[in-house]
């Protein structure tokens, strides 16, 4: 082939491939933009302080979503309390204690990977079968004299179910953070006579703190948005009172969106409210995700500087 033809073919080939793959990228960004624009255009006008701070009225066609916000926040707070210690401990074990190729290490990693892939609805079944039926009913039998308190769908069981679901997020992100802590810091600590545990607590964990924070934020974002796992484990359509006990049911932003958009008798009347609720839910998860991205990129930059 003569050189000109070859140069032309190479140019054309690159152009075609870059255009095709670039178009795919553009289409994905376009989908994101369309969703955001549609939701914000339809939802933002309905947002107000009253909407955020009052309870739904008139068969959910008026009023606000405060109980749903309250329930979602309570859920993710309890979930965080449960998942962070467990997730961080697992990551510390995997990265600081375990032999990298040991059988147990591999088993834990396989379990974490598979846990991340379990369908969210199966977590719902698990929450019902394990937490509500087994643990809850067990507690009732042992401490409540058989009276039904914990043996039914409740905030605490939803939070724990969500904690199991978000555990892989915390583990994976924390482990990545621990791995990026320079080896020299551990060696310096050991050279000063610190035990492994002292090194972990005083050197490694403080250095990896932004990463642990990232993992927590991502878990919270995930936990705030998932609905399928809590369908049968404690979410309620409408409650006249805010939950005040761990064994109360609760309202939830995502569940609110689901129920209102599929089971409302008057979809047109609830539509503006529904869009506004979606805006709140999206804002919540996006702010959390954006915070995670910022914290993580700062941490990477810091370690990049430290390495240079």
């Amino acid at each position: 082939m003569n050189p000109f033809a070859r140069a032309f073919r190479n140019r054309a080939g690159d152009l075609a491939l870059a255009t095709a793959t670039g178009a795919a990228t553009l289409l994905i960004l376009g989908i994101l933009a369309v969703i955001l624009v549609d939701v914000i255009m339809n939802g933002a006008p309905r947002l107000s302080w009253t909407f955020l701070s009052s309870a739904p009225t008139h068969g959910m066609t008026q009023g606000g979503i405060f109980p749903a916000i309250f329930g979602t926040v309570a859920l993710v707070l309890l979930m965080t309390v449960a998942v962070v210690p467990v997730g961080v401990a697992t990551a510390i074990y995997l990265n600081e204690y375990a032999s990298p190729h040991g059988r147990l290490t591999r088993a834990v990693r396989v379990a974490v990977n598979n846990l991340a892939g379990v369908p969210s609805i199966v977590f719902g079944l698990f929450g019902l079968g394990f937490f509500v039926q087994f643990v809850g009913t067990g507690i009732d039998r042992a401490f409540m004299g058989g009276q039904k308190a914990f043996g039914q769908p409740a905030l605490i069981w939803a939070a724990l179910t969500m904690a199991v679901l978000t555990m892989p997020v915390v583990i994976v992100v924390t482990e990545e953070a621990l791995r990026s802590v320079p080896r020299e810091l551990r060696e310096a600590s050991a050279a000063l006579g610190a035990t492994r545990f002292q090194t972990v607590v005083n050197v490694v964990v403080p250095q990896a703190a932004p990463g642990i924070l990232t993992g927590t934020i991502l878990a919270v974002s995930r936990g705030a948005g998932e609905v399928a796992p809590i369908l049968f484990v404690g979410a309620a359509y409408f409650l006249p009172h805010l939950p005040s006990h761990l064994y109360d049911q609760f309202m939830h932003l995502g569940y609110h969106v689901y129920v209102l958009s599929t089971q409302s008798p008057d979809v047109d009347a609830t539509k503006p409210l529904l869009y506004a609720t979606v805006v709140v839910l999206l804002t919540l998860t996006f702010l959390l995700n954006a915070a995670a991205i910022v914290v993580r990129s700062r941490m990477r930059r810091r370690f990049a500087q430290a390495a240079a």
Binding site: L17, Y97, V108, P119, G193, V227
Partner: protein
């Protein structure tokens, strides 16, 4: 930022016996108290907590399977339904010939699984048809052609896309996409396999993108350099060196995307129409396994036949995604070994 060194420095080993009198006094400060006992306890707690992921998987499998066991053992449940009735066509009163029907809430409850399985398959297929080319294409663009600045926009954007709760995607599909698709193709039912598959693909794209992008990034530089040195153009290197080298990673991306698509619940629950129709048409309303569990479990009698069958569906979902995920992980691992970048 450098942390101040730990304030209490102590020897790693348990304190040695008191130094003999002849030892030099200057060494004494080095013989500090041993680490407090609770350090040991804390380490044990860390080791124990590290097992919780394994415990979680085992408990999930055990408790979901346990609730579906009566299907095989309990005579009360088996009066209403047996596994073979779920898989084989049954002669129902009022029907001309044996048929697969899912109608658990009726005078004669019918638990024919095939409508749900085929429904799940249809929705999953549509979603992969869109998400795989788009996800892999975008990953190729970002890893091969995109200038760094574009890359820094695209990657966080796709992370944001992954962060959209599935209930929001379901809502969007229900409110916007369903009408759009119906008008565009003149379809009879507003909610169908196409709409829910399309909405599902939005949730699957980030999975496929992230894993394939990682796979393309794992191809060693030396491969590219060797190919370039032989006179290959960039597109030739991309298509004939990078893509083949990363192919197990792409397979893994497809597998994990498939796992996500099969298990996803809220999107299909809201956008598929939920009619259990056994047909090959993509424009019929469909009911998937996950949506069936979500829609029906709230109204069943605890421990009854219907309850048991729904847990059986859950076990089926769990096992399917479990196997798919294992295959995906294995593909990623084998690629890393092949490329010599295994951790």
């Amino acid at each position: 930022m450098v942390r101040t060194p730990p304030s209490s420095i102590s020897s790693p080993a348990p304190a040695p016996a008191p130094a003999p009198a002849t030892a030099s006094r200057s060494l004494a400060p080095l013989v500090l108290r041993p680490p407090p006992r609770w350090h040991r306890a804390a380490e044990l707690v860390i080791r124990a907590l590290a097992l919780s992921a394994i415990a979680a998987i085992v408990l999930i499998l055990f408790f979901v399977a346990k609730e579906s066991l009566p299907l095989f053992t309990d005579s009360e449940v088996r009066k209403e339904v047996t596994p073979s009735q779920m898989w084989l066509a049954q002669q129902w009163p009022g029907y001309d010939e044996p048929d697969h029907i899912w109608q658990p809430v009726s005078d004669v409850p019918k638990y024919g699984l095939w409508a749900l399985l085929v429904g799940t398959l249809k929705v999953t297929l549509v979603s992969l048809l869109f998400s795989v080319p788009l996800g892999v294409g975008a990953a190729l663009y970002v890893s091969q052609y995109a200038p760094p600045r574009v890359r820094e926009v695209v990657k966080p954007a796709i992370e944001l896309l992954a962060g959209i709760p599935s209930v929001v995607l379901g809502f969007f599909a229900l409110m916007v996409m369903a009408t759009f698709v119906q008008d565009a193709f003149g379809l009879e039912s507003r909610l169908n396999a196409v709409v829910s598959g399309l909405a599902l693909s939005i949730a699957v794209i980030p999975v496929v993108f992230t894993i394939s992008e990682e796979a393309f990034g794992a191809v060693p530089r030396s491969y590219v350099e060797a190919s370039t040195a032989l006179g290959a153009a960039r597109w030739q290197t991309t298509l004939r060196v990078i893509v083949p080298a990363a192919s197990p990673g792409i397979a893994a991306a497809v597998a994990l995307g498939l796992g996500r698509a099969i298990g996803e619940t809220m999107i299909v629950l809201m956008a598929s129409g939920n009619a259990a129709i056994l047909s090959a048409s993509l424009t019929d309303s469909v009911r998937t396994l996950s949506a069936t569990i979500a829609a029906e479990l709230a109204e069943v009698v605890f421990g009854g036949a219907h309850y048991t069958v729904l847990f059986f569906l859950g076990s089926l979902l769990f096992l399917t995604t479990f196997v798919i995920n294992l295959l995906g992980d294995w593909a990623i691992h084998s690629m890393k070994v092949k490329l010599g970048v295994a951790a």
